[in-house]
């Protein structure tokens, strides 16, 4: 297995959270929940696991009488995500490589 492949991050719910967070700065907990299509408690569990691993930061804010929670990808989380995505791309590229190498030979025939 590729050493950059992150088993901890590859859990679908965690990878979904990190994928949504990556293009943004802070993301509302409600947006994360609705986009992934999960429950508050299930999302909270995965966000806590990611926060414990240092991959995300969590901030609670009082806004117009309601309490909102925001999640942000940490620099460590971003690096781990980049490494993991690169490992996945290498797996896909390795699978396609023999086909691409054979293509010119097939054309010559």
């Amino acid at each position: 297995m590729d050493p950059s492949f992150d088993e901890f991050l590859h859990v679908p719910a965690r990878l979904s959270i990190v994928a949504i967070l990556a293009p943004a700065d802070w993301v509302d907990f409600g947006f994360l929940r609705d986009t992934i299509g999960t429950s508050d408690s299930a999302l909270s569990k995965q966000v806590s696991a990611l926060a414990d691993a240092g991959y995300v930061s969590v901030r609670k804010k009082q806004e117009k009488g309601s309490r909102r929670t925001y999640v942000q990808l940490s620099p460590e989380g971003r690096q781990a995500f980049q490494r993991h995505a690169a490992a996945l791309e290498r797996i896909v590229a390795a699978a396609h490589a023999p086909v691409e190498q054979m293509a010119p030979e097939a054309k010559a025939r």
């Binding site: 990878l15 979904s16 293009p23 980049q82 996945l88």
Partner: protein
Amino acid sequence: MAFQDAQSTLDDIRRLQDRTHDELVRHAFALPYMLLMALGIFITYASTDLQSPWDDVVLLLGTGLYVGVIIVHTRAKLCRASVRPRSISTPLEMVFYLGWAFSPLLAFLASESAAEALDLPARGTLAAAVTAVTFVAAMPLTRRIAKAVMRQKNSRL
């Protein structure tokens, strides 16, 4: 891991990132703010048809509305949006936002030249109206370009 699983995971990552891009673009180019900006553009450029001192007064009003909307909208983006944007970081992003900021001026100059060539009355007001309408009408295209720029920025995340 099978390459089909890796490919499927990468597809999921792109799909989810696109949801974030959609939300960022939806909020960045929200119609109420864009309509107010278009009104600011119209007032600013229509002031060129007025006599002194009204031209300066209306110019200040229009510019004030335009800048005020940008300030309020930026504050909303940074403080109240469900997805808050990362700071501008790529040259392409910079070029896009600068181009977008100056496009009304170019549209106005082109419209005014056309109005002059056709010898139309109230050229400034006419060109200002064309500029404001073009600004709003071009919004779907602007959103598509903004999303493409975001995708390019985040392609190596």
